[in-house]
Amino acid sequence: MFRGKKNQAQEGRLDEVGRQILRASAMTDGEADEAASSPFLLARVRARIAAEKGVRERAPNDWLSIIPAFRRAVPVMILIALSAVGVSWYLQAGAPVEQSNQSVGLYPDPHGPQMSVVSACAISTKEECAISTEEVLATLVNQERQEAQ
């Protein structure tokens, strides 16, 4: 109990010194008034305001300066896109014809619809698409037999 009272007294002393420190660290009202009465204070405020206005006025111009750069960038981007399309077209043209027929389906193929059903079912979860592995194998064997004939 005595110890608690001692601690309380010590805390009270620390708080009191803390308040003294806070008061000591502050300017007096007279000193603050003196600082506020500086003859060029308003002139400096006006200068700061003018400078800040200048910065704010330049800010939209900086944003607008992006437009010419954007105008230069657009043709370059179009060129890059065209060359990318050209390269992909060239690569597709050089690919084996059989593979491209199956993948793209440009030419009529008797087995085409079946293949597309299988492909569609590969990504479907519907019940009618639930083909077993045996069924798939049987279909492939039949196709090979037909081709052999």
Binding site: R13, A26, E52
Partner: protein, 204 residues
């Protein structure tokens, strides 16, 4: 020409300048009337300097922050409305406190490295109740020392203690100024006092 006619003619109402409300001056100043802004500056510069002086004691820094506050005020005038928020005096005080808080965060712990053994002896003497500011010189030392000690606190702790004990504001006023809830102010004040006790107890 039209802009000129919209401006507030202080020459006409020179005798009634004190009668013109801050709100009206704010309206004219926000529309670019330099005389109205000057009038607001004249009315509130001392208030702002006194608030800043609670946080900083170098007159150059106080002047710098006062300039910053009035620059902020100038650009925020369009957003000010006493109907929606506090009075102009409370509004400008809030801007001043926020500016001080920003500066506290910038200068945090800069003074800590310059803490000497002599300073420690002085704090110990204060804690024992032996030190008294008898002359101007010791008062100046005490102020310098106080700043070094307060630099050991976080900006949040320093802000709340300065407002409570330095500015002698109520919890409700601080809540209004900072936008914190009253309970948050109380909790922060409690923590700030504990932090200051910890700083001081290092010298015991």
């Amino acid at each position: 020409m039209e802009e000129t006619s919209d401006k507030f003619d202080f020459a006409v109402v020179a005798d009634d300048r004190e009668e013109v409300s801050d709100d009206l001056l704010a309206v004219y100043a926000s529309s670019g009337d330099e005389a109205a802004f000057e009038q607001l500056f004249e009315r509130h510069r001392r208030r702002v300097a006194r608030i800043v002086g609670r946080f900083f004691n170098h007159s150059e820094r106080v002047e710098e922050i006062v300039q910053e506050v009035f620059t902020k005020v100038y650009f925020a005038l369009a957003d000010y409305s006493s109907e929606r928020g506090p009075s102009f005096a409370a509004w400008i005080s809030r801007i001043a406190i926020n500016s001080c808080y920003d500066h506290l965060r910038r200068v945090r712990r800069r003074a800590e490295s310059s803490f000497t053994e002599e300073d420690g002896d002085l704090v110990r003497a204060h804690l024992r109740g032996g030190a008294r500011e008898k002359d101007m010189e010791s008062a100046v030392i005490s102020r310098d020392l106080a700043h070094k000690l307060l630099a050991r606190l976080s900006p949040d702790d320093r802000l709340i203690l300065t407002l409570l004990d330095g500015q002698e504001m109520s919890v409700a006023d601080i809540a209004d100024m900072t936008g914190w809830s009253a309970s948050k102010v109380k909790v922060r004040a409690h923590r700030a006092r504990l932090s200051l006790r910890r700083v001081l107890s290092d010298f015991l």
